[in-house]
Subunit: 413 residues, 2 copies
Amino acid sequence: MAIMGAHARAASAVLANTPTKQKDAGLLCAAMVIRANAGDILEANEKDMANARAKGLSGAMLDRLSLDDARIEAMAKGIEAIAALPDPVGVRIAEWDRPNGLHIERVRTPLGTIGIIYESRPNVTADAAALCLKAGNAAILRGGSEATYSNHAIHEALVEGFLASNLPEHAVQLVETTDRAAVGEMLTGLDGAIDVIVPRGGKSLVARVQADARVPVFAHLEGVCHVYVDGAADLDMAKAIVVNAKMRRTGICGSAETLLVDKACASTHLAPLVNALIEAGCEVRGDAATQAADARVIAAIDSDWATEYLDAIIAVHVVDGVAAAIKHINTYGSHHTEAIVTNDQAVADRFLNTLDSAILLHNASTQFADGGEFGMGAEIGIATGKFHARGPVGVEQLTSFKYIVRGSGQVRP
Amino acid sequence: MAIMGAHARAASAVLANTPTKQKDAGLLCAAMVIRANAGDILEANEKDMANARAKGLSGAMLDRLSLDDARIEAMAKGIEAIAALPDPVGVRIAEWDRPNGLHIERVRTPLGTIGIIYESRPNVTADAAALCLKAGNAAILRGGSEATYSNHAIHEALVEGFLASNLPEHAVQLVETTDRAAVGEMLTGLDGAIDVIVPRGGKSLVARVQADARVPVFAHLEGVCHVYVDGAADLDMAKAIVVNAKMRRTGICGSAETLLVDKACASTHLAPLVNALIEAGCEVRGDAATQAADARVIAAIDSDWATEYLDAIIAVHVVDGVAAAIKHINTYGSHHTEAIVTNDQAVADRFLNTLDSAILLHNASTQFADGGEFGMGAEIGIATGKFHARGPVGVEQLTSFKYIVRGSGQVRP
C-alpha cells in the first residue's frame, strides 16, 4: 500500500495544476472507453454475478451488483455529466481589500487524495473516480470483493481514458481485494498520503471507518429522518409529502423513518395520514394515540424511534407542538434531514433555526436530500459531520482553499 | 472529565440559539469584570511567577507568563473587539433556487464545543474563550500548569461576566491542571462532546495533539516560511520585505526562515540582501554562492533548509528561477506561508497558483500571516491542514453550516 500512497501523492501534485480542459477531456475519453469496453465489463460482471449466486447473496445484493447495457450507459453518461460541471479548482470564493492596500483572495484548491471504501455497486468505481478527478484529486478505490472483476474492468477503462488525455497513470488506483490489510492501512491515511476517506455502503462499513479512521471521514452513519406535521399544516400537502418522504424510495438515506404529528391537528390529520401510508403499502408502528386512530397500526416500542428501517415501515408519534417535535428529533435523530409541514411561518422558522441537522426542509419531502436535487450535479455521498463538508458531498466539497495576497511592497509595521 | 463533556454539550445546545445581543453583552460584562478584578488576577499571576522563578524557567517563558496592568487592559480590549465583530451564526453563506421552486440556503451554525490545550500565555484563556463564545460554541480550556493561578483568576472573571448576561454557567470550563489524564481524555473527544481541538504552544505540544487526537485539530506544526526574490524583483522592495519578514518579530509562525534568491539577480541582489539582514542583527547561513557574496555568512548544512529557527537566523539559498524555488519550497516547506518578490506578473502567478501553502503573498511580507491583518478581527491560531479551516482561524472558521430548504409542497418525482 505504501507504493500506492506515494503514487497517489505524485499524481495529486500533477492533477492540482492540470488545466480544466485536460481533466474534462480525460473524463470524456473515459466515458467513451467505458462504452467501447461494454462487452468486457459485462463479461467481468457475469463472473462476479456467478460467484455471488454461488455464495447465495440476497436478491437485493445481486441487483446492486448486476450491470447491463442500460447501467453501463448510465455510468458513461454520469461521467459526461461530471465533465460538464464547472471546475471548482482555482475559483475565487471570496476577495477583499485591506486598508494597507493588500488584496486578499480565497481560492479553491484540490484536497489531495481521496480514499473511497465501498461495497456492491460497481458504478461507484466510475462515479467516485470521476468526481475526485474533476476536483483535481487523486483517488484510491477499494471496492467490495464481490465486485472484483467488474471493478477491475471499469477501472481499466477509466485509466485508458485518462491516459489518452495525458493524465497521470495513478490518478485513480484500485486496491486488490485480496489484500486483506488494505482497508486498515487506508484508514491510517497511508502516512499522510490519503487526505480523506469516503465510505459508501452499509452501516457496519461506515461504523468501522468512523471508529478506526485516523484521517477525516465524509459520511453519515444513518439517516433517521423525520417529518413533523404541525397543527397549521394543510392536510393534502402533508399527505403528499409524508407518503413521498417515506415511500418514493425506502432504501435511501433521505427517506423518512419517523412521522411526528402535532396533537393540535391529530383529530383531523392523524387518521388520514396513517391511512395514506398504509394504502401506499407502508407498515405503521405507532404510539397509543396513533393506534387509537387506526386499528391497523402496530404498537411501537422504544427502539422504533431510533430505527432507520430503509424499508416500507414508519414510526408515528403524536407530539405536543413544535417544541416537543424538536425535543424528539434531538433525542432520537441522526442529524441528517428533517422536514416540517406547516402554514405557520413562525413555527417553520423555529423548526429550521433551532434544529441542527445537515438538511432542514419546510413544506418539502425529505427525499430531496441529494446532491443532484440540490443542483450540485453529482455527489459522492451525504455527510452528517460538522467539518468541512456537510450535507451532499459534490465536487466543491472535495476541495480545500488557500489565500493569495497581492501587494506592492507592503511590510508589517 | 465526562461530566465536563456533558456540561459542555448542554451549554453548546443553549449557545447555538443564543441571540447575538446576549452573547455580546456577556463578552462586554466579562471585559468589565476582568478590569474590576485586575488586582486579583495580578496577585494570582504573582504566585505563578514566583513558582516559575523557583523552577528556574527561562526569561522568555517568564515573559510569556507575566501579566501587568497593560496586559490585563489588552485582554479586556481584546474581548471587547471580539464582541464588536459581526456574529457569524445564522449568516446565509449562499442561496439559490431550483427549477422546481425549492429555495436552498446554506446557513452558518456553531461547531459545538472547542477544546483548547495551551501553554504559558494566560491571555489565551480570555481570547480563546471569547472567540468560541462569539461563534456560539462552548469551550473546554486546558492551560499549562505554570499558569494555573492566573488562568483560574481569568476564568473566574469570564464566568462572572457571562453569568451576568444569563449565558450558561458551563459556556467556558477550565480543566484542573492537577488532572494529569485530562489532555489525553480531551484528545479522544470526550465521547463526542468535543468537536475540535486547538493546540496553542510549542512544537512538541502540537505534535502530540496531532498524533493522538481522535477529533479534528486546527493547528500548524511549524512555519518554515520562505521569501523568494525573483530575478525581476526591485532590490529596495526586496530588502524591505526580506528584513521585515525575518526580523519584525522572529518568534511568530509567519516569520521567514529561508530566503531563496534567483541566480538571475544574484550578482546584483544577493550581497545587498545579506548585508541588510546582517545589519538588522540576523545571522545568515548560506550555500556556497551566498558565502561567496559575504564573508560573514556561515555555511548552511542540510537541516537548515527545514528548520524553523523562531530566532534572528535565516537560511539563504540561490536557486535557478521560480521553478527551482517552487521545488525547494515543496521539498522543505511546511505549507504555511510563502512570499515572492517580483515585478514579473507571470512569474508571480506561477508561484501563487502552483504552490499549495495556506497563504501565498506577492510583494508583501510573510509577517502578514495573521487573522487581524487579514481583517478577521482575531484568531485562535493558524491552521495548515486542508480541512475546514486553513490559514488564520477566526470566528467564521469556528462555525459549521446547515442547509435550509423552503418549499410549497414539493415532492420528489
